[in-house]
């Protein structure tokens, strides 16, 4: 069933891709192939391969249970928040928090996680910023 859904998503993607390829404006500079042809070939093959997956799906993968899925979703949210907040909060704090969270969810005790988080943040800061001179995002506190 998973594969059938995946194939359907692929098919939908192929249609959308072909539709937006047709919307591409031709320029007067165009060569004899133009900017549309190759995307249209891609969407055609995408459609064919999606159909083949719908018609001949593999056996069902082991999806994680709801609890583990929630876990993955939470990690995703934390990483997205990290990406957005990095320039605002600064490297040191956001990295310590994000890595402490991941360490904790991978099975460390809360106290261990805080220590590991701070150590990861500090060691990356020392190695990449102080030794290699890479500029990391500065927060309101200057690091």
């Amino acid at each position: 069933m998973s594969d059938r859904i995946f194939g359907a998503v692929g098919l939908l993607l192929a249609v959308l891709f072909a539709y937006s390829a047709l919307q591409i404006q031709e320029s007067f500079l165009s060569d004899s192939v133009g900017p549309k042809a190759f995307p249209l070939i891609i969407s055609a093959i995408l459609a064919i391969s999606s159909l083949s997956i719908i018609l001949k799906p593999d056996s069902e993968p082991d999806w994680p249970n709801v609890k583990r899925l929630a876990e993955i979703f939470a990690a995703l949210v934390v990483m997205l928040a990290y990406a957005e907040l990095l320039p605002v909060v600064g490297f040191a704090i956001s990295t310590a928090v994000a890595s402490a969270y991941l360490t904790w969810r991978l099975g460390s005790t809360p106290i261990q996680s805080v220590i590991v988080g701070i150590s990861i943040s500090a060691s990356i800061y020392v190695i990449f910023h102080l030794i290699f001179g890479l500029s990391l995002a500065k927060g309101p506190l200057g690091f």
């Binding site: 594969d3 500079l29 060569d31 190759f38 391969s49 083949s52 990483m79 490297f91 290699f132 890479l134």
Partner: protein, 513 residues
């Protein structure tokens, strides 16, 4: 002769202090990446790409660092296979079969030393093969026009997808996803924006480094979170090494299997798409057929450790031949290395040998040096890597994630790219769950623009006649190989992974009490 003087110049480039230190650093980090359970050469290199870029190294030093990581990870893979029975990637699976039983019998040290020598021999010989074969291939490739190049790209997708997945439909879909992503951005020929949804961020296209690090490195973090790997797997396993020098008898009996496996592995590596999995599988099963008269294979036969290690390391060297000479990667990891080259504004392929001989030959010389460093690192200092292996993944994986973030932020300096990378990470996780191979996606992102440019050039030259793609004998034969490469695995492709698993399982059952 010309080849040897170029190689000598290469050694001059590679022997500077900075490059030697980078090779040492790369070998060390690579071995660590390879030794860690779950991480293999392709995600190892992917994680370290941003590091190389943020260090602001030039093209040759970056390449030296990353190819050392590649070779190092191929060496390191055997450590977790032998000691923990956890293969870092598919090719390392065959080493578990005899390596782990040896470790259980208290001969882990011997197995590590022997496989270290076999790895050295395999990859050293393969590097010599690369020196001899790549310039010949370049001569053929210089006759390629746009139509032939287009056919060559098709061939790369057809064969790479065929071996890396059980399901050809999924491999094709993965390739199209990658090609579709490559179309995002301003069309280089006409200046028209495509698939940008009006967002300025997308005008430059999607940075393939962002895609690669997301798909390979971050998806690994999600997999770990899903299974909550951590405490149980590695910790608490006591590792008894035993003596570190194999007996003369063992060494002697392993010489021929090592030599034979090197040849088989190299050939498997050069063939587009086949790569190291096929190399290690073929070498192991061949030696089993030739040597296994007493039925000792699977119960800790040293020859069963030497053969797949020589085979997979030789394949790793062989896979660099098409990557450097044609610009078409022969395996997943070489696809990642191709990304490095493109990001450094170096286009691999026949012209590379003419335009940037210092880069190519410096790189090849560095491979020889890396091999010697790896031999020295892997025999006496193997204890250090074993200790690193005992650091639990619940600490390592967050560090991996954070290093990926820092690296990409260092290159792009924008939150937007980090967000895209996280999205690629979760997409990579879902694709892996659905058994969709990631390598064709990356290949599509990498080669998409080049493929389209060659197609358009070919058709424009012929005044709009599409049949030009199938006119020269050279392009026709490339198409033929592509079709065979795509169709054949539908019948044969399901067998290889199944057989590999079966062999491993049989061995497991035999030694189980």
């Amino acid at each position: 002769m010309e080849t040897f003087s170029s190689l000598a110049d290469g050694f001059v480039v590679a022997m500077t202090w900075q490059n030697l230190l980078l090779a040492l650093l790369g070998c060390f980090l690579g071995t660590v990446m390879g030794a860690l359970p779950g991480l293999g050469p392709s995600n190892g290199v992917a994680i370290l790409i941003p590091l190389a870029f943020t260090l602001g190294l030039g093209a040759t030093p970056s390449l030296i660092l990353l190819t050392s990581v590649y070779y190092g990870a191929m060496y390191g893979g055997r450590i977790s296979s032998i000691l923990l029975n956890i293969p870092g990637d598919a090719p390392a699976l065959m080493t578990c079969i005899d390596g782990h039983p040896m470790a259980k019998q208290g001969r882990g040290g011997e197995a590590l030393a022997l496989s270290g020598f076999a790895s050295f021999f395999g990859s050293f010989m393969a590097t010599i093969g690369l020196v001899l074969l790549a310039p010949q291939l370049v001569k053929i490739a210089l006759a390629f026009g746009p139509a032939e190049y287009f056919a060559l790209f098709v061939l790369a997708f057809a064969t790479l997808g065929g071996v890396s997945s059980k399901n050809q439909g999924k491999a094709a879909l993965a390739a199209m996803l990658g090609l579709g992503l490559a179309m995002v951005g301003v069309d280089t020929q006409t200046g028209v924006p495509r698939f940008t949804f009006g967002m300025v961020h997308f005008y430059d296209g999607i940075d393939f480094l962002v895609a690669i690090v997301g798909l390979f490195a971050l998806s690994e973090v999600f997999i770990f979170i899903e299974h909550r790997h951590g405490a149980s797997d590695v910790e608490g396993k006591k590792v008894e090494l035993g003596r570190l020098t194999p007996s003369k008898q063992t060494m002697k009996s392993s010489i021929m299997p090592t030599i034979r496996s090197t040849i088989v592995g190299f050939i498997a590596g050069v063939l587009p798409g086949a790569g190291a999995s096929l190399g290690s599988f073929l070498s192991y099963s061949m030696e089993k057929r030739i040597c296994d008269k007493d039925g000792t294979f699977g119960n800790g036969d040293p020859r069963g450790v030497a053969a797949p290690e020589a085979g997979n390391n030789a394949a790793a060297g062989g896979a660099l031949v098409p990557m450097l000479a044609l610009g078409v990667p022969g395996s997943g990891t070489t696809a990642v290395l191709l990304a490095v080259l493109l990001a450094l504004n170096i286009t691999p392929g026949p012209l590379l040998f003419n335009n940037n001989p210092d880069v190519v030959w410096g790189l090849i010389a560095a491979l020889f040096i890396a091999n010697i460093i790896l031999l020295l690192l892997n025999i006496p200092f193997v204890g250090i890597f074993i200790r690193i292996l005992l650091v639990p993944p619940r600490i390592l994986m967050p560090a991996v994630a954070m290093i990926s973030f820092v690296g990409i932020y260092g290159i792009a300096g924008s939150s937007f790219d980090l967000t895209i990378m996280v999205m690629f990470g979760i997409i990579g996780w879902a694709l892996r769950k659905l058994d969709v191979p990631l390598v064709p996606v990356i290949l599509g992102v990498l080669l998409g623009n080049n493929m389209e440019v060659n197609l358009r050039r070919a058709v424009t030259i012929s005044d709009g006649d599409w049949s030009v793609l199938f006119q020269s004998p050279l392009s026709l034969s490339l198409w033929a190989v592509a079709v065979i490469g795509f169709v054949l695995p539908i019948f044969v492709g399901r067998i290889l992974p199944k057989k590999m698993k079966k062999l491993a399982k049989e061995a497991e059952e035999e030694i189980a009490p």
